[in-house]
Amino acid sequence: MSERDPELDALWRRHSAETPPAALDDAIRAAAHRAVHAKPSTAPRARAPWPAWATFAAAASIGAIAIGVWQLQPRDIDETQVVASDTPARSVARQETARKDVAPSPIQAQTPAAGAPAVSSATDKTVSAETDARNDSRKPSPFPATRDAREGKEAPVKAETQIARSAPSTIAAAAGAQEERTLRARSEARGSVAKVAPDTTNESVAPPASVGGNDTARVVPAPTIAQPRMAQAPMAMKRSGDAATADAGSQQSQAAGNAVRANPGTLPSQAGSLAAPAPRQAARTVDDFVDTIRRALADHRDADAVTALAAMRTQFADADARLPADLRTWAARVPRAAN
């Protein structure tokens, strides 16, 4: 009895024809269409729709992060550069030089060089410190400003250490001579050393009367630079030991050769003073005294000349006899000190 009864089926069809309301039909169809257009069921959406503002927000965030990182990295480098530029080594060395011109350091005055008079030693150390500081400021250094400035301040004391360090090395001495030549040329261009030299190194710089002109001006600084190294050589030898003695001598000889080759106008006597070995230091000192006296007299600074003569007499018993003939007459008029 599973088949439909035709008569009952017909009766049923005639009287069972209700349909859902039209509003319900529309609602269901609209829901179906919305679902299809939104496509929620065809495939699960990989992700939520990306809002428009999210793109700008992401770009702004990335940009802010990039700018922040970019500012952080160069800032560290810039700080280093600022430090380097804020403390230029050259200006520091120049300030030190000017300060020493006014008043020599007590350390310099009170630290006598071995085998040298006090005045000469102080002057020589001042010039040496100045020269070394200037050389250091011109050297390309991986630690440019701070280290050079510090070394410039401590130059009078540190000069000995630097010389002691460089004394054993012949190559270093040659390089030092080369740097001195360069320094001399630059100093001439500035004129600062030429102005400073007569005041601060009265006793070490003494241009011969027979030499004049521009060549003289170029030669003049040579003793002021080379002599401190000579004056410091005994100390360097003492610190470096006996082995350093031979090296120091060869260094001075080579430096003198370089000086002569680099400056053809340099007098042989000055070249000798540039690279005089330690045993010849006494004879050279006499020359220095002579030069100092000559310059003092030429500048009408009689007191300085008398002081230099007194110092020479203190060091050399036969100082008057060692003087040239023209100065010997003048020295005869200067009374000897009581002691």
């Binding site: 009766l11 005639r14 179906a32």
Partner: protein
């Protein structure tokens, strides 16, 4: 109803449903047009209340739309659709405590005779002025309401949904023989109650 192509009209329910799942909204319109009347009447005959029928009808179709992605054409679309409706109606009965618990072994053969008499009484009380169709229709519906719910459910699934015994068995969750028995008793009662109309 929106216009649809001839190919869509000739397509099976399963093909239309798959087309709708793929995004063809017109396929849903065709599918809805095919089953809207039968499903609505199936709910209306069970609930005997138009507003409840509307609610259940809409819930069933919205459920079809919502779970369309999981639709697998392992059975006929109509079977799936009426299964959804059947379960929804059962839930409604349970919620409203109107469901009459009848044993599955009760084939309705012990239906009280006074109910059939009441149908006759309704028929005799019908005013002469009313249209004959409405009188007949009212009698038919009254006769259907006198059927036990299982017999009525099987009868409606066969006459409104057009399902076979196996499909009715699948929808209602009973065996084929049970469905066959329910249908036999339901038809016999209705013929007895409506024999003067045939």
């Amino acid at each position: 109803m929106p216009a649809s192509t001839g190919a869509t009209d000739e397509a099976t329910d399963e093909a239309l449903m798959l087309a709708y799942v793929a995004g063809d909204a017109a396929a849903f319109d065709t599918l809805y047009a095919r089953h809207r009347g039968g499903l609505y009447r199936y709910a209306l005959r069970h609930l005997r209340n138009a507003s409840h029928a509307d609610e259940i009808f809409q819930d069933v179709w919205m459920n079809v739309i919502r779970v369309r992605a999981t639709y697998v054409p392992t059975a006929k679309f109509a079977t799936w659709l009426y299964t959804l409706a059947h379960n929804r109606i059962v839930d409604h009965w349970r919620a409203s405590a109107r469901a009459t618990i009848i044993s599955i072994d009760d084939d309705g053969e012990s239906a009280p005779r006074d109910e059939i008499d009441a149908i006759a009484g309704v028929r005799t009380d019908e005013p002469e002025a009313r249209a004959a169709s409405m009188q007949i229709g009212a009698r038919v519906m009254a006769a259907l309401e006198l059927l036990p719910s299982e017999q009525r459910d099987a009868f409606l699934l066969q006459y409104e949904g057009g399902h076979s015994l196996a499909e009715i068995a699948a929808i209602t969750g009973v065996g084929d023989e049970t469905v066959k028995s329910r249908l036999r008793y339901a038809s016999a009662k209705l013929r007895a109650m409506l024999k003067d109309l045939q």
